[in-house]
């Protein structure tokens, strides 16, 4: 009988046809194609709607859609209605770049938002800089985007990895101990986050007992955990995200490691905590935005609006990222009465977000030197079960302003080069 695998490989023509068909799928139509009017303002959004980051990406898109609806209800941008064109980067750098090019060259978008994946966000930033399109990175955290690879047209809403590391390093060192072991995702985000945490630890006199670089999408962490326990650290720091975070935390608790070593990390997300059984919701973390902020203006309205669109569920930091990214374009364009990318990018230097967009107590602004949003870190501890609300899975102990966690511009490696 014919071996299908051998026959497949030997039939080169058929294989090429198959590959071409799969390739064509990557550049198919956008997910959201609303009725288009010729004079509409177009915002393009590239996010990994499929793959391991589908949940945070979907939430970013939902937040951006809410912003667009609110912008249109208030008269749009320069009196023109706004439409959002969403493309799936499929958590793949090549696909993300292809989709960004398509949005810019074929759909003629005025602005670009994206991506959750740091590697894709950095790659898209190259494209938007080349095409001179104003770009807000909604959720890719790696330092270089607003560091050594910064661009005049690229601003970022979410924290840098260094900001995340700075927000919790002191607390973890003082409360848990000076020997840290890391579980790090093996790509741009993980590498810079690890570098930042390790540098902070060494500065304080601590030691790194090991760093387990794990492939993105790892399902079984047991081998790494065996190694981590053998190293006898004080703290096991999880830098993984998404489903990797869920799988890792779940296995840690099943192995009873949380009873032997302190388990903590930097960035934690509501999407991950919600995907965990109650017993695995543990540890000290930082949230980049949290939905429960009693007394902070406009937060309750935002939560109510998202609940309406999200099957009753509360917004996560990702909703806020998408919302703030889209709102940024409308605020600056309406202020400058222009769509010129250079003019708008210059106006965003030290641009402060109003209370109904920043949705947090501290001052929030795009820093002039590196285009990084100085947004707060919500530091606290994961909760097994919400007290008043089943979705209240995090206790916020302090809200630290962005300019306290961000390194000085001079240390970021960013030098903005404006076009002539």
């Amino acid at each position: 009988m014919k071996n299908p695998i051998v026959s497949l490989v030997s039939d080169r023509r058929a294989l090429l046809k198959g590959a071409a068909a799969i390739g064509a799928l990557q550049i198919a139509s956008p997910f959201v194609v609303p009725v288009r009017a010729a004079d509409n303002i177009k915002m393009g959004m590239v996010d990994p709607l499929t793959g391991v980051y589908a949940a945070p990406a979907g939430n970013e898109v939902m937040g951006a859609k809410l912003a667009v609806d609110q912008i249109n209800a208030k008269g749009g941008i320069l009196g023109r209605q706004v439409e959002l064109l969403v493309e799936d980067s499929a958590n793949d750098v090549g696909t993300g770049v292809q989709k960004a090019r398509k949005l810019i060259e074929r759909d003629n978008v005025n602005f670009i938002i994206g991506d959750v994946n740091s590697g894709i966000a950095a790659a898209i930033a190259q494209v938007t800089a080349e095409k001179k399109v104003l770009h807000v990175v909604s959720g890719g955290h790696t330092d270089t985007i607003t560091g050594k690879d910064c661009h005049w047209n690229v601003y970022r809403v979410c924290n840098t990895t260094r900001m995340e590391a700075n927000s919790v390093s002191d607390l973890l060192y003082n409360k848990y101990g000076k020997k840290w072991h890391f579980i790090t995702p093996d790509y741009a985000f993980g590498h810079t986050l690890y570098d930042a945490c390790a540098a902070n630890l060494k500065k304080r006199g601590g030691t790194v007992t090991g760093n387990e670089l794990t492939p993105l999408g790892t399902t079984d962490f047991s081998a790494y955990l065996i190694k981590a326990r053998a190293a006898q650290p004080d703290v096991l720091l999880l830098l993984v995200q998404g489903s990797d975070m869920i799988n890792c935390l779940k296995q840690i608790v099943q192995f009873g490691l949380d009873k032997q070593i302190h388990v903590a990390g930097t960035q934690q997300e509501l999407e991950s905590l919600a995907g965990l059984p109650p017993e695995a919701r543990i540890g000290i973390w930082m949230f980049e935005w949290y939905w429960k902020q009693p007394g902070v203006p406009h937060v309750a309205e935002f939560v109510a609006e998202i609940r309406k669109r999200n099957g009753g569920q509360v917004p996560t930091a990702r909703h806020w990222f998408g919302y703030t990214s889209a709102m940024t374009f409308a605020l600056v364009a309406n202020q400058q009465k222009s769509l010129d990318a250079i003019k708008l990018a210059q106006a965003l230097d030290d641009f402060e977000l109003p209370p109904d967009v920043k949705l947090q107590p501290n001052k929030v602004y795009y820093r002039k030197g590196d285009h990084q949003l100085m947004t707060s870190a919500f530091i606290g501890e994961a909760l097994n079960k919400g007290k008043d609300d089943p979705e209240d899975l995090f206790r916020v102990d302090s809200v630290v302003p962005g300019d306290k966690t961000a390194p000085p511009v001079a240390d970021t490696g960013c030098t903005i080069k404006w076009p002539a």
Binding site: N3, K250, L276
Partner: protein, 289 residues
């Protein structure tokens, strides 16, 4: 150091046992029907989500019994409507179909249950390590291995001692002759496909207890299963069993010395086996079966 080595070999065998369960289902379908089922991971996800949905009503044990047969029924429907018309054609057709089906299942799962992961809690007495030293051997992982051993034993009994099993094995060797002897090959293929998908469904329920349940979870588990088949030798179920355990141990040991390569080592192992023994460890030369 020796202790760490021993830990990792034991841990690798546990991980490998899980790959075996997935790979045996894949192997069954590939051997008899020449279908390279890229949607196998999707069926695993369906099994996991069905278990998640019915657990509040029937409990974890009820879900473990009910979800795999339901998944098998869904698999049967897919085989009848989509895959059957492609039998006899170039394997590329069914490969492309199941490749597309995998995306449809992933997005369908996301549409029905949402993109956000779902928590699945296993019975408390299983979610504990058996001892302080052997912390990585939890009751649940032991239960998983026991279930895999039971399922594999049952499968081998089915194939060796039942009329259906005999026909499947004969069909694997020469389907045309089996057909000429008056055996309904269509039904044989359907039942064989259903058994394969049953194993995927069972893997899904077991995985949901240990990992986060989310639409993409099948993807990460599918490739090791394919590699297990190739390493063990296409056509040999014993080879698949050996292949699954081997890549589990190789992956575990690599994680100890060079964590970043723990995934790549499976592919390296496959390449080495293909170079040294192209038919796989227990595959027979010149035959798929």
């Amino acid at each position: 150091m020796t202790q760490l080595l021993l830990f990792n070999v034991t841990n690798g065998l546990i991980i490998g046992a899980f790959y075996v369960l997935m790979a045996l289902g894949l192997s069954l379908i590939l051997n008899l029907s020449n279908v390279i089922n890229f949607a196998h991971g999707g069926f695993l996800v369906i099994g996991g989500y069905i278990a998640y949905t019915i657990t509040p009503y029937v409990g974890f044990w009820g879900a473990l019994l009910i979800a795999p047969p339901i998944t098998a029924l869904i698999g049967l429907a897919v085989e009848r409507t989509l895959i059957r018309p492609l039998y006899g054609r170039d394997p590329l057709y069914s490969l492309l179909l199941t490749f597309g089906l995998a995306f449809i299942i992933e997005d369908g799962t996301r549409f029905i249950w949402g993109a956000q992961g779902k928590p699945v809690t296993v019975p408390a007495f299983l979610a504990k390590p058996i001892s302080y030293d052997f912390f990585f051997i939890t009751g649940y992982r032991l239960f998983m291995v026991a279930t895999v051993v039971f399922a594999v034993a049952l499968l081998f009994v089915l194939l060796r001692y039942t009329r259906l099993g005999m026909r499947i094995r004969a069909g694997t060797l020469d389907l045309e002759t089996v057909s000429a002897l008056g055996i309904n090959v269509r039904i044989l293929r359907s039942l064989n496909f259903a058994v394969g998908i049953f194993l995927a469904g069972l893997s899904g329920v077991l995985a949901a207890g240990q990992l986060g349940l989310e639409p993409t979870m099948g993807t990460g588990l599918l490739m090791p299963s394919f590699i297990a088949i190739i390493v063990g030798g296409v056509g040999s179920l014993t080879g698949t069993l050996l292949g699954g355990l081997l890549i589990g141990v190789a992956s575990g040991l690599t994680a100890m010395y060079f964590p970043a390569a723990s995934e790549a080592i499976m592919y390296v192992l496959m390449a080495v086996v293909l170079l040294v023994r192209p038919r796989g460890l227990l595959g027979e030369e010149g035959m798929m079966t």
